[in-house]
Each structure stands twice: as C-alpha cells, then as structure tokens.
C-alpha cells in the first residue's frame, strides 16, 4: 500500500516549468537555443549593421555622385566623373606620397621594433617581462594627441633636440639635413623628416606586439642548433629568426601601413603644406564641401588595404595576430 502511495505521486524526472513570466522565458531559452542566440546577436548586429555598415555604404554611394562646379550642389545621379577627378596628377601625387611615407614608416618601425620584441620574447623573464610588456602598452595607450604634442615640443626650433645637438657640437649635421631637398625644411617640425619620426613613434607599439608574439613561438634551441651547426649570428638571423618572425612583422605592418594611410592629424601638425590622403579627404569634405571627391579618396586606402590584407593572409600573417 505504502509503495503504491509513493508511486501515485512520483517526482517527475523533468521539473515542471517554474511558472511566471521569468520562468516561461527561461524555459523558452532552454528549449529553443536558436531563439536565445537570435536575441543575443540582434542588438550588436543591428547596431554595427545599421550604424556602421550602413554608413560605409552611404559613403561609397556618395563617391558615385558628382558635384556641380557652378552651384557647388551635389548632383545625386550615378556617375564615374568623381573617380575621373581622382586620377588628376595632383591627386595621384598625394596618393603616391602617402603610400611612400607608409612604406618607409613600416620599414623603420620593423627595424626599431625587432630588438625590443626579440629581447622581450627570448631574454626577459619574470618582472622584466612584465616591465617590457607595460613599457610597450603604456605608450600604446597614451593619448595620441599628447604624443604628437610632445614631438612638437621636441622638434621645435628652440626645443630640446636643437639644444642637445648644440651641446654636442652637431648643429652642422641638423642644418645640413634640413638643407636637403624633400626631407628638409625650415625646421624639423615643418619637414617630412619630422612627419616621418612622429609616425614611427606613434605606431611603433603596434609593430612590437605582433613581432614579439611571433618570436615567442620560436623555440630557443632552434637558434642554438643553428649556431651549433656553425652559423654566424648574422646567418642565424637571416636564415632562422627572420623567416620565422616574418608573419609577425607582416601582421604589425598591417597596422603601421593602414594607420599611416588614413592619418590626417600628424602631417597637419608636424609637416609641410603638401597633403597626405587623410588631409585631402578632410579638406575636400570640410572647406571644399566636395563630399563625392572625399568619398572617392577614402576608397583609395580601402582598396590598398584590401590588396595588402590579401597578400598578408597569403603569408600567414593572421596566425600571428
């Protein structure tokens, strides 16, 4: 009898719904994981899809509009005229100058970044490792404008660099450099050399981190094996270290290259009056009010970066990110 009584009110293996709005919702999530997934993905996707991708398309669409030269009004009809304007010699000059600068900045960043990354990856341990890490992270996250401002202080004619060179009796070197065509100028803060130094300074941490990540994965005994087999340090670097670090360098160069292509503040504050792509975009959309040409200009870095990323992917750079 007692057994039957127990059996008549068995505890079900599956609990009943916990009841109420909250319980019903919770059960629904469990039964239909797709519903929960949709609910989780909807807000971020709507935000990024509408705000961001929508804006990018709005921009792209504008590059196919044209500006009426007499009224200054934007003519909202499909045309390739704006892209024709983009290919004028003056604009091609701007593009070439920017790409050259981006390439030089990338090269210099890689050269300066390598020893730091190599030391941090292979020799720094414990507290030194943390110190190196913060030593790269803090400049990376320091205010971008403050970094540029610091260089304005350094490169100014009356600034610390001139003072230091005067103390070392090396002013003739600075004057000689500034009298050179293209790289020179009135002072370092209004020359391409100044622009170059600041670009390298500001983007350097973006190069160090991926190179260090790539070098961390090189086993130390590989380097030892190379020297055991009779390779000089130079040969070890060329034939062992460099090929293994290359994906990291390419990964870092994605940042240095892309950031240089799009920047308009550094060449505006420290540099000559000759424009870079970013400045051209800024002045076209601002003072000139020619949004279609500005939009067409932004397509240039997008296309260049598209090719760059495609090449980088083929070199395996994304595994090093």
């Amino acid at each position: 009898m007692t057994i039957a009584a127990v059996q008549s009110s068995p505890t079900p293996a599956i609990l009943p719904g916990s009841g109420g709005m909250r319980g019903a919702l919770s059960d629904l999530f469990w039964r239909r994981p797709k519903f929960l997934l949709t609910l989780m993905l909807a807000p971020p996707l709507l935000w990024l899809g509408i705000v961001y991708i929508g804006s990018l398309f709005a921009l792209l669409a504008q590059s196919f509009f044209s500006i009426d030269e007499f009224s200054g009004l934007i003519n909202r009809e499909f045309t390739l005229k704006t892209y024709g304007d983009l290919l004028q010699a003056a604009n091609l000059d701007i593009i070439l100058r920017t790409v050259m600068m981006a390439a030089l900045v990338t090269l210099a960043s890689a050269v300066i970044a390598f020893p730091i990354a190599y030391y941090a990856a292979r020799y720094a341990r414990g507290r030194w490792k943390a110190l190196f890490y913060l030593g790269v992270m803090l400049p990376l996250w320091s205010s971008y404008l403050v970094k540029i401002y610091a260089w304005k202080l350094i490169l100014a004619k009356e600034g610390i660099l001139t003072w230091l060179l005067a103390k070392l009796n090396l002013l003739w070197l600075l004057d000689g450099w500034l009298s050179l065509p293209i790289v020179g100028g009135n002072s370092l803060s209004v020359s391409f050399t100044g622009t170059f130094i600041v670009f390298v300074y500001v983007w350097l941490p973006f190069m160090i981190l991926p190179v260090q990540a790539a070098l961390e994965r090189v086993p130390g005994n590989l380097v030892e094996a190379s020297s055991d087999l009779g390779a000089s340090p130079g040969q070890t670097f060329r034939n062992v270290l460099f090929p293994l670090a290359l994906p990291g360098i390419v990964a870092g160069s994605i940042f240095t290259f892309s950031l240089t292509l799009g920047d308009y503040i550094i060449p505006q504050i420290i540099g000559t009056s000759r424009l870079f792509i970013g400045q051209a975009v800024y002045s076209q959309q601002g003072t000139a009010g020619n949004i279609p040409l500005a939009a067409a200009f932004t397509v240039v870095p997008i296309v260049i970066m598209g090719f760059y990323l495609w090449g980088a992917k083929r070199m395996g750079a994304f595994d090093a990110l």
């Binding site: 919770s26 030391y119 020799y123 190196f132 100014a156 799009g262 504050i269 959309q285």
Partner: protein, 271 residues
C-alpha cells in the same frame, strides 16, 4: 625545462632594446617638465624657470572643465553601450556554432581596422543623408561603435577559458537561465568585463579622428587639444592639460593589466 633560461643577451641587443624603450618613453616624460615651465610664448628648452601657477590658471578655465565633462559623459555612455553589445556578441560567438560566425568577428573588428577617417566620414555622410543634426548623441554613436571591439576581445578570451560544463551543471542543479547568468556566468567574466570597460573608456576618452567628424560645436578634451595645437591660445594651459590627460589614461590601463594579467590573453594588446 628550457635550455635558454639564464642565458645572457648580447650587448648590442641590450643597447638596441633599451634605446627603443627610451625612444618610446622620453617624449611623454618631457610633457611633465613642460607643465611646470615659466615660458609662455615658445617651447624653449631648457625651461627658464619652474612654477606651479599654470595649474591654478587651468583649474579656473571653464572651457577646460566643459571639455572634460563632455569627454567623461561620452566615454561613460559609450562604454556602457559597448559593454552590453560586446558581451552579447562575445557570448553568442563563443558559446555556439552557427553560420556566419567568422563574419561577425570581422564585423566587430572592422570599425577599428579601417582608418579612423573612413569611419568618421562614413558616419558624417550618413548623418547628413539622414538629416540628423550633430549632438551629444552623434558623438556617442561613433564612439560606441569602435568601443565594442575592446569589450568583445576581452570577453571572448575569457569565455574561451570558461568551461561550458559549468553552465550545464548549474542548469542540472535547477537554476533557470537568469539564475545561471547571475550566479555562474557573470562572476566568471566580471573582471574581463571590467578590464574591457576600462579600455573602452580610455579609447573613447582619447579618440579624436572620428570625433572631429561627429561633433558639432561641442568640444571633447582631444578636440580641445587639437584646437590648441593648430591655433595655440595659451600654451602653458595646454601643457598642463596634456600632463593630466597622460595621468588619467595611465590609471585604467594599469588597472586593466592587473585584472587580466594571469589570463592567456592580456587586455589591451589589440588596441
């Protein structure tokens, strides 16, 4: 056991690495000296004298306070939006498999991978096409868009280390979805979210390129600084503000580092 432990680095490498680090840090330290200079008109070095009077002058400048208050409000709201969107996205991507997962990671990273000027001008042209006037909220809209990625990166790294069986165990023990989230998921990801939030705050506080396109007449701290760099009004005040900005961004970065340093992925490595 690694055979390279305790090995000494070649002298040349040591010098090159040290010079590189000095190159990264000396310019920022210079800002601290200039904040105390008595020179008003130029950037002369060495400073002719040292004074603290510019701190008082800066303190009494209403435009500096207005910019600071706008920056803090924008950063706080953008961070809050980014926290919600980034966590949702990270949870969906790391806990489940579905079609288009890779595309979503790409979509989140895109606002920061493309040059800022493209994001900025894209937003500006979208605002003008839709006839949206510039306001506080247009700034927030831009900032939240690129802040999502830092929260997302931190949350994804933490979710990867959190075992899915804990969630199942919680459900088996009778907790409903909300209880599981509140008592199991949230405590696990809390420090990663805090770190991501602080980095998002720092990123928003410092952002200038996108902001120049999405702000109307209002000035955030970076816009104020940019204005001073192009058309200097009172250089010593700029020096003081620059120093304060360095200190203000330093703290969240250090905190974020300590919150996530024992993890596999340390916060902030992908700005």
């Amino acid at each position: 056991m690694r055979s390279d432990r305790g090995q000494r680095a070649p002298l040349g490498l040591k010098i090159a690495a040290a010079c590189g680090l000095l190159f990264l840090h000396l310019p920022i330290l210079l800002i601290f000296v200039y904040a105390f200079t008595t020179e008003e008109k130029s950037f002369v070095w060495p400073p002719p004298g040292l004074t603290t009077q510019w701190f008082a002058v800066t303190w009494n400048r209403p435009d500096v306070w207005d910019a600071l208050s706008l920056s803090v409000r924008v950063a706080a709201i953008s961070t809050a939006i980014a926290l919600v969107l980034g966590t949702l996205c990270a949870a969906a991507v790391s806990q489940t498999r579905f079609f288009g997962r890779e595309a979503i990671s790409l979509l989140v990273i895109l606002p920061i991978a493309l040059p800022g000027i493209i994001t900025g001008i894209a937003l500006r042209s979208a605002f003008s096409l839709a006839d949206i006037p510039f306001s506080f909220w247009t700034i927030v809209l831009g900032h939240a868009t690129f802040c999502v990625v830092v929260v997302y990166n931190n949350a994804v790294a933490r979710f990867r280390r959190t075992s899915g069986s804990m969630i199942e165990a919680s459900m088996d023990l009778g907790a409903d979805g909300f209880q599981t989230f509140r008592h199991v998921v949230l405590p696990n990801i809390a420090t990663a979210l805090l770190a991501g939030g602080m980095l998002a705050f720092a990123l928003s506080f410092d952002e200038v390129i996108v902001t120049t396109f999405t702000a109307g007449q209002q000035q955030t701290v970076p816009i104020w600084m940019l204005e001073e760099l192009i058309r200097p009004r009172q250089r010593p005040v700029t020096n003081v503000v620059a120093m304060v900005v360095v200190l203000v961004t330093l703290l969240p970065i250090l905190l974020a580092y300590y919150l996530t340093r024992d993890g596999d992925q340390i916060a902030g490595s992908g700005k």
